[in-house]
C-alpha cells in the first residue's frame, strides 16, 4: 500500500435555523455524510471528523465520527429554543487532498440546506 499522507481541513460555520432546530440530528447527519463522501473518494482512510457546536445561550455539542460505517459519538446537550450555533469542524484524514476535503465539506453543507428546504442556513466564517 502506498504511504498514506496525513491531511487536515478546518472550518468555522455559523448555522441558523428557522424555528427550533433539531441541532443534534442535523450535525450528526452532516458529519456522517461527510465520512461517507470522504470514504467514497477511495483514496484514503478517515482519522477523525470532529465538530464542536457552541450555542449563544450556553451549552455545547461535541460530535465525533471515525468511520463511514460507525455511528457518530455525541456529547453535550442543546439548550431549548436555540435557533443558531457556531460550529467548528476539524477533519483529519489520510490520503485525501485538502482541496477535495474543502470541496466535499462545502458541497455537503449546501446539500444539507437543500435537504432541509432552506430551513438551515450555513455560512462559513
Amino acid at each position: 500500500m502506498a504511504e498514506l499522507i496525513l491531511e487536515h481541513y478546518a472550518v468555522n460555520q455559523k448555522w441558523s435555523f428557522k424555528a427550533d432546530g433539531k441541532w443534534e440530528t442535523l450535525i450528526v447527519e452532516y458529519l456522517e455524510k461527510l465520512a461517507r463522501r470522504y470514504h467514497e473518494t477511495g483514496t484514503g482512510i478517515i482519522g477523525h471528523i470532529k465538530a464542536l457546536a457552541l450555542f449563544p445561550d450556553g451549552g455545547y455539542l461535541r460530535v465525533s465520527v471515525v468511520s463511514p460505517t460507525l455511528p457518530a459519538g455525541v456529547e453535550g446537550s442543546v439548550p431549548a429554543g436555540c435557533t443558531g450555533l457556531v460550529l467548528t469542524l476539524n477533519v483529519i484524514v489520510y490520503g485525501i487532498g485538502r482541496d477535495l476535503l474543502e470541496h466535499i465539506t462545502g458541497e455537503e453543507a449546501t446539500h444539507l440546506i437543500d435537504r432541509s428546504q432552506g430551513r438551515v442556513n450555513i455560512e462559513t466564517i
Binding site: 496525513l6 468555522n12 477523525h48 470532529k50 483529519i92
Partner: protein, 199 residues
C-alpha cells in the same frame, strides 16, 4: 509535578477520558493542567475543555512528536514557573508517536518531574484495520504505554475487544490493560490506575 501522557490513534477516545479524569482530580483538591496537541488549523478539544472550565494550554498546527516538541518543553517550563500544577496531562495528537514525545522530556529544565506515566487508548472498533494500515504508529502507541485502555467496549463486539486485549498483550507484555465503555464516568479505580501517586 507529575506528568501523564495520553496517546492513542485519532478518535480513540482520549479526550472523553481526560475530561472526567481532570474533574475527578480537581475534585480531590489537586491542581491540574492539560496540554492539548491537536492536528489542524483550529483546535476543538481545547475549546471544549475551556467550555468546561478546565485549565488548558494548546499546541496546534503541528505534532508534538516532531515539529512541536520544543513547544511542549517550553509549555511545561511555563506551567512549572507560573502555575505549578500537581499534574500535567499531555494529550498527544492521534498521529503522534509517543516514543518521540517521551524523548523530548529530558530537555525540560524546570523542577524535576515527580513521575512520568503513559496511557494508550485503543479503539477496538478500528484496531484490526489500523493494525493493517498504520502498523508502526499503532504498535509504538501500545509499546510505550504503562497502561493500555481499551475504550468503547460497549459499542464493540466481544471478539473485537478480545482482539484489542490480545494485540496489546502481545506487543506490550508488561503494561496493565483495562477496559472502559464509551462516555463512562471516570471510576476511582481507573484514576488509581492512571495516577498511582494519588493513593
Amino acid at each position: 509535578m507529575h506528568l501523564l501522557l495520553f496517546t492513542g490513534f485519532l478518535g480513540s477516545g482520549k479526550t472523553s477520558l481526560i475530561i472526567p479524569l481532570c474533574k475527578g482530580v480537581v475534585h480531590l483538591g489537586r491542581r491540574v493542567a492539560v496540554i492539548v496537541n491537536e492536528i489542524g488549523d483550529i483546535g476543538i478539544d481545547n475549546q471544549l475543555m475551556r467550555q468546561l472550565d478546565l485549565n488548558v494550554w494548546e499546541l496546534v498546527a503541528g505534532c508534538i512528536c516532531c515539529t512541536l516538541s520544543g513547544d511542549l518543553v517550553a509549555t511545561l517550563q511555563k506551567l512549572d514557573s507560573n502555575y505549578a500544577p500537581d499534574l500535567v496531562i499531555v494529550e498527544a495528537s492521534g498521529a503522534a508517536d509517543p516514543k518521540s514525545v517521551l524523548a523530548a522530556l529530558p530537555y525540560y529544565r524546570g523542577q524535576p518531574l515527580s513521575s512520568v506515566r503513559t496511557a494508550s487508548v485503543l479503539d477496538p472498533l478500528r484496531l484490526a484495520m489500523l493494525m493493517e494500515v498504520m502498523t508502526p504508529l499503532v504498535t509504538s502507541q501500545i509499546q510505550h504505554a504503562d497502561l493500555i485502555i481499551v475504550s468503547k467496549t460497549d459499542l464493540a463486539r466481544p471478539d473485537e475487544v478480545e482482539f484489542a486485549r490480545r494485540t496489546a498483550r502481545e506487543i506490550n507484555p508488561t503494561a496493565r490493560i483495562v477496559s472502559v465503555v464509551a462516555r463512562e464516568h471516570m471510576k476511582p479505580e481507573l484514576i488509581s490506575e492512571l495516577l498511582p501517586w494519588l493513593n
